[in-house]
């Protein structure tokens, strides 16, 4: 048995068109475009800059959470605690600034760092004990939820100083008012898209999600990487906490309860596999927009919010089905 010695290797990338089609976010992106076209045709108000800015505002908090969630899911983990951690962070930075009288920027920094601390603890438990991410973050969900209520004494924090709500202000872009917070969210998406796609760290995250053991054998420091991913995700939740208070103008202990799962919904809709190792953060951005566009469009059509949730549920199951079937085909 002698293999031919003429190598047939092309060092260049596959054609652009093929790459676009094979990109994991291609399907979700098509769905987003179709939905947008549909809502543009069925309602007058959908297709306007103001409405798009509104959609961005509506999704910026869950979108930011979904960035952290994407990182964790890419490592074949999951984070059920992101919304609760964000809620604690938002109460913490609001109360530190209002009740404890800390300078607002210091309060913000502490809030974000504490969220990072929650992530760090999650990561350490997942990697060092080790425990399944589902269980660790389920526990952390309850812990953060309880701490939020204990610390806030069930009271909404009001009278926030300017820096805490600065990201909720708008600036004109053409004839559309856009919040600074939306920009922060978009910027974070771009930063992490680069980090995942353009750096060795990103490749290691994917490798870890493919197989932790093979990543270790490839010389990747798996423990450091895993703990780092959870900690970075926590910091991102901290930014989400700031975005949350800037948008609502108060520190609300009841916040963040639906976002735990909504962030997972967005990640899955964006074509990222729950089994880890496949997916993109830009896909997650598309997934977030799909949820936002459907909610917004159905609302404009006068469909009640229960049906919006129903549609979201159907979409999630559809997305996971597509993921499973495509995985089977490539096997």
């Amino acid at each position: 048995m002698t293999a031919s010695t003429t190598p047939l290797i092309r060092a260049k990338e596959p054609a652009i068109a093929r790459r676009l089609f094979s990109a994991p976010a291609a399907g979700p992106f098509a769905a987003l475009v179709l939905a947008s076209v549909f809502f543009s045709l069925s309602t007058d108000q959908f297709l306007s800059g103001g409405n798009f800015s509104l959609i961005l505002q509506q999704v910026m908090v869950v979108g930011t959470l979904a960035i952290g969630q994407t990182l964790i899911i890419l490592t074949a983990g999951i984070d059920l605690s992101c919304g609760a951690v964000m809620a604690f962070g938002s109460i913490l930075l609001a109360k530190l600034a209002v009740d404890s009288g800390l300078p607002p920027l210091v309060a913000i920094a502490i809030g974000i760092l504490v969220c990072g601390g929650f992530g760090l603890v999650n990561g350490l438990l997942v990697r060092l004990v080790p425990l399944p991410p589902f269980i660790v973050t389920l526990g952390m969900l309850n812990i953060a939820f309880a701490l939020t209520h204990i610390y806030s004494d069930e009271q909404t924090v009001t009278g926030l100083p300017g820096p805490l709500t600065a990201l909720g202000r708008t600036f004109p872009l053409g004839r559309t008012d856009v919040t600074y917070g939306s920009l922060v969210t978009v910027a974070l998406f771009l930063v992490f898209a680069y980090a995942l796609n353009g750096t060795g760290w990103g490749r290691h995250v994917y490798a870890l999600g493919n197989s932790a053991e093979s990543a270790r054998l490839s010389g990747i420091r798996v423990t450091r990487l895993t703990v780092g991913v959870y900690a970075v995700a926590g910091l991102v939740y901290g930014v989400a906490a700031l975005l949350l208070v800037s948008r609502t103008g108060v520190g609300d202990p009841q916040a963040g309860q639906t976002e735990n799962l909504d962030s997972i919904t967005a990640v899955v809709l964006g074509g990222t596999s729950l089994f880890g190792g496949r997916g993109t953060v830009l896909g997650t951005f598309v997934g977030v927009l799909i949820v936002g566009v459907f909610r917004n469009g159905l609302q404009l059509m006068g469909v009640s919010s229960v049906y919006q949730t129903l549609v979201t549920g159907v979409l999630v199951i559809l997305a996971v089905t597509v993921d499973q079937l495509s995985r089977k085909r490539t096997r």
Partner: protein, 308 residues
């Protein structure tokens, strides 16, 4: 007397096979005198105990430049422990390991890799959702020159793709595109990627743990062919395998491991497969002059060998 070894690659033997200098009628002796050529990797008197269990019991080991050395042994003979000790995955309690003649202690697998010892694991080696180039450079990515690389940690994907393609063609591996994901490849092609990756980085030794275990006949043949080409590039290969036909087809020498130590170091052209199996199971033992004596009559009879 030895049909299977006749299939061995003629004209591809490592330069330092010195059958003629041995007195034992062309037989490699079981306890060879110190070889004239400095072994690439060698060990003397390795011991590793786990409580009352002795996994390595005074094992010796020699890998010569440019050879394919098969390491065979029954399950539980301790060959995995031996290989782990040689690749830094475990630290022996006693004994000495030498790399290129210099005594060395590996702190861990990474340390061994930094000394040019690469291991191809059965099926764990590749990340299926990543492309071939990304797998080739996993854990050793090349960054762009200048601030793009140092500040922004930007990968030089072009360079990695180009070098991957070069390695692949050097080894005669035929694949569609270096940018396709590993999961689109067949089992043999995946193994080829894993082997190519190891060879690309191995300066001293490539260790392959059962590289054909999960493969079909045709794919196994391709991987064996690949191992030959690796050897011809001058990188010695340690091949751990249960597959006797594969061992006899590819190996220049066979290290038979039994009860935690080297039971024999033989030339596959001098022994038949049943004899080697008998040595492996303890039915035959190899004498100093390369002859065999029956160590266990019943076992030897069961194995169908009898010679002295």
């Amino acid at each position: 007397m030895n049909d299977s070894a006749a299939a061995g690659p003629a004209g591809q033997q490592p330069p330092k096979r010195q059958d003629d200098e041995h007195p034992g009628a062309g037989r490699t002796s079981a306890e060879p005198a110190e070889p004239q050529v400095t072994p690439v990797l060698s060990a003397r008197g390795l011991v590793k105990r786990y409580g009352h269990v002795t996994a390595i019991d005074g094992a010796d080991f020699d890998l010569l430049p440019g050879e394919v050395l098969a390491v065979i042994g029954d399950n539980g003979a301790g060959k995995t422990s031996l290989i782990k000790a040689l690749t830094g995955a475990l630290v022996p309690d006693e004994g000495e390991i030498r790399l290129h003649g210099e005594p060395i202690r590996f702190a861990g697998p990474l340390d061994a890799r930094q000394h040019g010892i690469e291991t191809v694991y059965q099926d764990l080696a590749v990340a299926p959702s990543m492309d071939i180039a990304a797998n080739m450079f996993l854990g050793r990515e090349i960054r762009r020159a200048g601030p793009l690389g140092t500040v922004f940690r930007m990968l030089d994907k072009k360079a990695m793709r180009r070098e991957s393609a070069e390695y692949m063609s050097e080894l005669g591996i035929r694949l569609g595109s270096i940018g396709q994901t590993v999961e689109t490849l067949s089992g043999g092609q995946r193994q080829a990627v894993a082997v190519a990756r190891a060879v690309a980085w191995a300066r001293s030794v490539v260790v392959m743990d059962e590289p054909t275990a999960a493969l079909g006949v045709k794919e196994s043949a391709q991987v064996l062919d690949l191992i030959r080409r690796v050897r011809d590039k001058g990188v010695p290969v340690i091949l751990i395998s249960h597959n006797m036909p594969h061992v006899f087809e590819i190996a220049d020498r066979i290290h038979v491991h039994r009860l935690g130590r080297r039971a024999a170091l033989i030339d596959p052209r001098d022994y038949t497969m049943p004899e080697v199996v008998a040595i492996m199971t303890g039915a035959l033992s190899v004498t100093a002059d390369g002859g065999t004596v029956v160590a266990d009559d019943d076992a030897a009879a069961a194995a169908g060998v009898r010679r002295s």
